[in-house]
Symmetry: C2
Subunit: 327 residues, 2 copies
DNA sequence: TTTCTCTGTGGAACCCGTTCCACATTCATC
DNA sequence: GATGAATGTGGAACGGGTTCCACAGAGAAA
């Protein structure tokens, strides 16, 4: 593979001149330009990005950590984030941490090893102190990682309220509420607190089903739903994350109960799968594109070394009415 | 940031000794080890991977090109591929090409610029000749890219046959067949040819609905389904890719036709969304995990410079019976 | 004519880890 | 005591692009 020195030799100029030509920086005469272009073509020369990266100590790569890309929320997030990163000239390194906090650590270490310039983490397993040690650009999606790390999230409290009010307006009297494990410190718990609060306020009975920590797979969701029916829990309204709500709705339909007439559903996240089921799911929709855009905007600014006033970016959620509720 | 020379100086040894210590290659005395370890700790030293990469001319990064990660087929593929790459010590760079063949070209160029060691492409837009120019490790998912580039695909012919036979056994007399654009040369067309062939053989009428090239978004699928109903096309069986079949089934249900009693559905791909709808979709299932594993295995071998006998790896499909067919 | 500025150029030094070679000990073997 | 192998070490050269500095010629201003 030809190097810049080969090009310089062939063109009969110095390496500095070739470098200036390549980067369009400083003076290069027309004559030198022509000779360099010619030599480059003859040698089929492409600059080695690695050497550039070494000098500049940056790669233009951002690591995006998600528990699982096949989860629709994260796959949409990754989709938008990649597009947005591309707009900024960044490349995306994708890391599925699954349940291994080891993988998470490894990717954080890539910051120190100069492989990535920044990390956007949508993962909730590693201890906060691991993050605090790192003085490099990190943006957290929906998680508090200490003072220094900016967070992008949605207004979960509002989301909880919207869901609760919708079920109340629809006349539900006994609501099944699937909630995430409280072990992790994350803004998303707000929705559960607010949901319960509004329900209590209106004196509506809720049955809380607490999910295990960090289990997002369909298999587990199905188990949870089966468990609910096995226990004979009764309900006329359900609130839970998309896939769980869908799983629960399908089981409800299979048991010949009418949706939305007898049982109402409101799901959380509002990913595309909620529009793919029949009846369409009424959902509190997270602005995933906005989350991706804000995450990228923040990481870009952090890398640029600029100060950011907004340590927290909170986006609005919205209720998308489907046919699993009447009103 | 401390460099290896700083460590060497602090430890009172040569850089070569530190390097040998770091890589566990060659001789390093216990005494030197202790001094180096101490110096590394004091300086909070981490080797700069970029410098290593420059020397070795490799980064351990594989680019994975997909049209769209939010498509369930590709998001599952990416999910498995990432896990498999991780097992081999590779990192994944993800590229959503959307419809921009420009992005595709750019990522291929990263091979020449030494940013990635290999490319796994699940994208079908760039001209084959662009690929032929590149003498670097490339693996194609479900597409012919000339003699030199190995392909990983499934037995689509078998898939077409399974789908056709299932609809025939279920007594369908007039089948709606959604097929991909024939413009692109890809193994996946085989399923359509075979499907039609088997149908003709059994003298079953089919209505072929040809989809536009490279449009995989839900919006378009919905349009296509609406179009079908608008035109008043009649059918008692449907074959199409997952999301399309689901979209069509939902519309069928909304129009008060019974599934599977009056209309049968068989979808292609069998991603998780087919198990998320009610009734569950009968599907020809692609072994996505296997595709990912084989792609990674091949790229790994190509990078290792090993010869590969199998230019084509063809995996088996399987019919997963759901409740959109009776038999 | 002198002085200054602008254009243009070559190449050493740098970024940082790796490899290889020359050289020095130590210990076992003959 | 001589020979050889194993152990151990330092540092120059290398990978390839970038930057900066010294230097030179041309044209303009004084």
């Amino acid at each position: 593979m030809a190097s810049i020195r080969d090009v310089a030799k062939r063109a009969g100029v110095g390496v500095g001149t070739v470098s200036r030509f390549l980067n369009d920086s400083g003076y290069v005469s027309e004559e030198a330009r022509a000779k360099i272009e010619d030599a480059m073509k003859k040698l089929d020369y492409t600059p080695n990005e690695l050497a550039r990266n070494l000098y500049h100590k940056k790669t233009g790569i951002i690591a995006v950590l998600v528990p699982n890309v096949s989860n629709p929320f994260f796959s949409e997030f990754v989709d938008y984030a990649e597009a947005e990163l591309y707009r900024f000239g960044f490349k995306m390194m994708l890391c599925n941490t699954r349940k291994e906090s080891n993988a998470e650590l490894e990717y954080l270490d890539m910051l120190r090893r100069h492989i990535v310039d920044g990390v956007i983490t949508g993962v909730h397993s590693l201890d906060v102190k691991e993050y605090k040690k790192i003085k490099k650009p990190i943006v957290a999606l929906d998680r508090y990682l200490g003072e220094d790390i900016p967070v992008v999230a949605v207004n979960h409290k509002e989301g909880g309220r919207l869901a609760a009010e919708t079920l109340i307006e629809n006349g539900c009297r006994k609501v099944l509420h699937f909630r995430g494990a409280t072990a992790v410190e994350s803004p998303y718990h707000e929705r559960h607190y607010e949901f319960e609060r509004v329900m209590r306020q209106h004196r509506i009975q809720t049955v809380c089903y607490e999910l295990q920590w960090n289990r997002l797979d369909s298999g587990y969701y199905r188990e949870a739903v089966e468990d609910v029916f096995l226990r004979g829990i009764e309900f006329d309204g359900v609130f839970g994350v998309d896939r769980l709500a869908i799983e629960c709705m399908n089981e409800t339909i299979r048991r010949h109960r009418k949706v939305p007439r007898e049982v109402k559903f409101v799901s959380y996240d509002g990913t595309y799968i909620t529009e793919m089921v029949e009846p369409k799911m009424t959902a509190v929709v997270q602005p995933i594109e906005g989350l991706a855009r804000e995450s990228v905007r923040l990481i870009h600014r952090l890398i640029g070394g600029r100060v950011y006033k907004d340590k927290q970016v909170i986006l609005d959620v919205e209720l998308r009415k489907g046919n699993t509720t009447i009103i």
